[in-house]
């Protein structure tokens, strides 16, 4: 019961690593930095494994296991403890974060090997682990928010890691500001919950909320709170309308994209919605909003990914799209399926990013797929693992993405919140996903080489980069088998595991995955694959022709629907204009500076006039003395009289 009683060990270990490397590591050799960074996160993973062992010994009545360590804030009736809790959902997230996180740490020792900011990188990465673990372990919204903001901070620091590059710092700022918008909603949602329930502890809030009637009639307090929480989630998890920061976030080092902007941090929004599922289930309107936003984002981002040429940008839009699937799962009541997809996505998307990083590494930093091609012979390990991940994300039967994605679509089709429109849009998106992922694979690894074979020496990555790839590839293939018995009408073991927390999606009785095997999502995936094969292997000249014949559409999509430009014109530019002309030149310069400078200048001018009295001329002083004496005499006489 050691770890259960000392849950704080798990997040504090990476914090210790960050502190050691950040404060004392200035002159340490690489090996010392490595052992601190990997050692603390590795120990954290081992502690989580031990926690899992102890956790399965607990009786059902002891779950969620909550432990309050000290009171952090006590103000009026608000009491926020440093309280951590463990239930099945937390345990799953902990395993994902520490496991995938450690693998990415290992990968980074190879990828960042020649970087001058090596120590800084691992300091930030460990700090991120601390905040992410705080986020998933928190037993109240206040502490969750601490982790929430902390991972945002680390995201900002790591996007702008190469801070001498203007685009990188701009991207970091953009991520920070866009997330502020979402966090504003999250905060308001928390205030509303506190006003309603008088506390922000998960257990109390959910108990009281589940006693309330479902708000079917309109917008009640729970619906409002849920919509505000959703606003926070759209910021962190890059959903419409706040997704714009994630593609730019690819300016950061690739392991960061894998860890923060694919596997863990961006899933925090999904985690938060799943964690608050009791509230959402009492607010049908908010559920519809979650499902709709998720599906639209999934579709929208997938179409943009179709025409991107930067390998990391394709993966970024793919991440947005897959996060949309998770929201769809949550929105149709299948929270378990949403979290399941979160897990499988963490495996295969982290793998895809790391694989892309390996490709870039082997090509000396090239990111443009138009200058790749034919790499599969040169870097077979990278190719094999990326193939596994591509098959997984495309929903190939037997691979992890198939189980999780189809569980979501099954719930959208048959579940209690089923919606035909969202289902078919989801199926269409599955086809598009398959297409753009195979397009990426074909453009990168197949066809004839389009890079300069004389100047670029293609080489396979070192083993400390390949080991994480292989481990993640195994997980990407096998990670979904948890749910495999569901194929044949049996129980969905994953759902049974997570069920005590998130409930059932309600689809078990309605259909089995075997029906889904021959269902629309798989067919859509196959069509997508065939199209990609036809366009990029069979007739490589066809895409350019199509782009020419569908010029307007192509330009619209490759311009990312000009959403950035729209936001720029509608929000950013007016805001900058008002800030410049009114707030800066008006209030700041005229008002505040004017008052301060005015007083100083008035004193100066007064002094300028008066200083002429102090001329240094003795006779003038004499005159003043006489003048003063006469004045004094007059006053004295006048007072006597």
């Amino acid at each position: 019961m050691f770890v259960l009683d000392h849950l704080w060990i798990i997040p504090l270990l990476p914090l210790l690593g960050a502190a050691l490397n950040g404060i004392f590591g200035r002159n340490w050799p690489r090996a010392a930095t490595n052992s601190v960074a990997l050692g603390t996160t590795g120990l954290s993973f081992l502690a989580t494994a031990e926690l899992a062992r102890e956790f399965f010994g607990l009786a059902a009545s002891q779950i969620p296991w909550t432990h309050s360590y000290f009171t952090w804030i006590a103000a009026g009736t608000l009491r926020a403890d440093y309280a951590l809790q463990v239930d099945q959902l937390t345990l799953l997230m902990l395993l994902i974060v520490t496991g995938v996180g450690w693998l990415i740490h290992l990968y980074s020792t190879g990828y960042m090997h020649d970087d001058a900011g090596y120590r800084r990188f691992f300091t930030y990465l460990n700090l991120f682990m601390f905040f992410m673990l705080t986020l998933v372990l928190a037993a109240n919204y206040t502490l969750l928010f601490v982790g929430w903001e902390g991972v945002g901070l680390c995201s900002y620091l790591l996007i702008g890691f190469w801070f001498l590059k203007k685009t990188a710092t701009d991207a970091g700022n953009k991520a920070f500001w866009v997330n502020r918008v979402g966090d504003f909603g999250f905060l308001l949602g928390m205030f509303l919950l506190f006003r309603q329930f008088g506390t922000l502890d998960f257990a109390t809030v959910f108990d009281k909320a589940s006693a309330m009637p479902a708000e079917t009639g309109g917008v009640g307090i729970l619906t409002a709170a849920c919509l505000l929480l959703l606003m926070g989630a759209t910021g962190k998890s890059a959903q419409i309308p706040l997704y714009v920061w994630l593609p730019d976030a690819m300016e950061g080092p690739t392991p960061v994209s894998a860890l923060i902007h694919a596997a863990t941090m961006v899933a925090a929004g999904v985690y938060m919605v799943a964690r608050s599922h009791v509230l959402f289930l009492h607010a049908p309107l908010a559920m519809t909003a979650v499902a709709t936003i998720g599906t639209l984002t999934a579709f929208f981002a997938a179409t943009i990914a179709l025409v991107q040429t930067d390998i990391k940008k394709v993966l970024a839009y793919s991440t947005i799209s897959q996060l949309g699937y998770m929201f769809l799962g949550c929105g149709v009541g299948a929270f378990g399926a949403g979290v399941f997809h979160l897990m499988t996505h963490a495996f295969f998307k982290a793998l895809l990013f790391l694989g892309a990083g390996s490709v870039m590494h082997s090509l000396g930093g090239e990111q443009d797929m138009r200058r790749m091609g034919g790499l599969y012979k040169a870097i077979p390990w990278t190719y094999g693992t990326m193939l596994a991940a591509t098959l997984a994300i495309a929903g190939t039967p037997g691979f992890s993405g198939f189980f999780s994605k189809d569980a979501i679509l099954l719930a959208a089709h048959d579940g209690p919140y089923s919606n035909a429109f969202l289902y078919w849009l989801g199926v269409l998106t599955a086809g598009i996903t398959s297409f753009y992922m195979f397009r990426l694979l074909f453009l990168t690894f197949h066809g004839s080489p389009r890079y300069d074979e004389h100047s670029v020496h293609v080489h396979e990555s070192p083993s400390n980069m390949l080991v994480p790839l292989v481990v993640l590839a195994i997980l990407s293939v096998a990670g979904g088998w948890w749910a495999a018995p569901h194929l044949f009408g049996g129980a969905d073991l994953f759902e049974r595991f997570i069920g005590p927390v998130l409930g059932s999606s309600g689809t078990a009785a309605a259909g089995t995955l075997l029906e889904a095997l021959l269902g629309a999502p798989v067919i859509a995936g196959i069509v997508g694959f065939l199209l990609a094969w036809w366009l990029y292997i069979r007739r490589p000249e066809a895409p350019a022709e199509m782009a020419k014949s569908l010029n307007a559409l192509y330009r619209l999509v490759s311009g990312k629907y000009f959403i950035d430009e729209l936001y720029g014109a509608v929000i950013v530019r007016p805001l900058v204009a008002i800030s410049t002309s009114v707030l800066w030149h008006g209030i700041d310069e005229r008002g505040i500076d004017g008052a301060v400078n005015g007083i100083a200048q008035g004193a100066g001018e007064f002094g300028e006039r008066v200083r002429h009295l102090n001329s240094g001329n003795t006779r003038t002083y004499a005159t003043w003395v006489v003048f003063g004496a006469v004045l004094l005499t007059i006053v004295l006489v006048w007072m006597r009289g």
Binding site: N617, T618, R619, A622, V626
Partner: protein, 100 residues
């Protein structure tokens, strides 16, 4: 007996001459003498009042003034000699190191 107003008028005239000399003259020695003139004008007024009122305090005060004036003359002339040495001039207009 000469009425007191005569003495006071003379005292006022002497004092006024002292003020004018103090303000308008440029030579330090002259200014110094103007100050002495003002002091002695006041002394005259004191003595006149003392006599007219039949009290001795005024005369005692005159002694004080004479003593202070002697001390002042000693210090003041010392300063004048130093100025004359350093500036090669007795013109107060040239004593202007403190001027902005």
């Amino acid at each position: 007996m000469v009425p007191i107003s005569y003495y006071l008028a003379l005292s006022a005239v002497l004092f006024g001459l002292g003020v004018l000399g103090f303000v308008f003259k440029r030579n330090i020695i002259t200014i110094f003498m103007a100050i002495e003139l003002m002091l002695n004008a006041v002394n005259l007024a004191f003595v006149a009042f003392s006599r007219a009122l039949g009290q001795l305090q005024g005369q005692v005060f005159v002694f004080f003034v004479i003593v202070v004036a002697a001390a002042e003359a000693a210090v003041g002339l010392g300063i004048v000699i130093l100025i004359a040495r350093n500036r090669q001039s007795l013109n107060v207009e040239r004593v202007n190191l403190l001027k902005l």
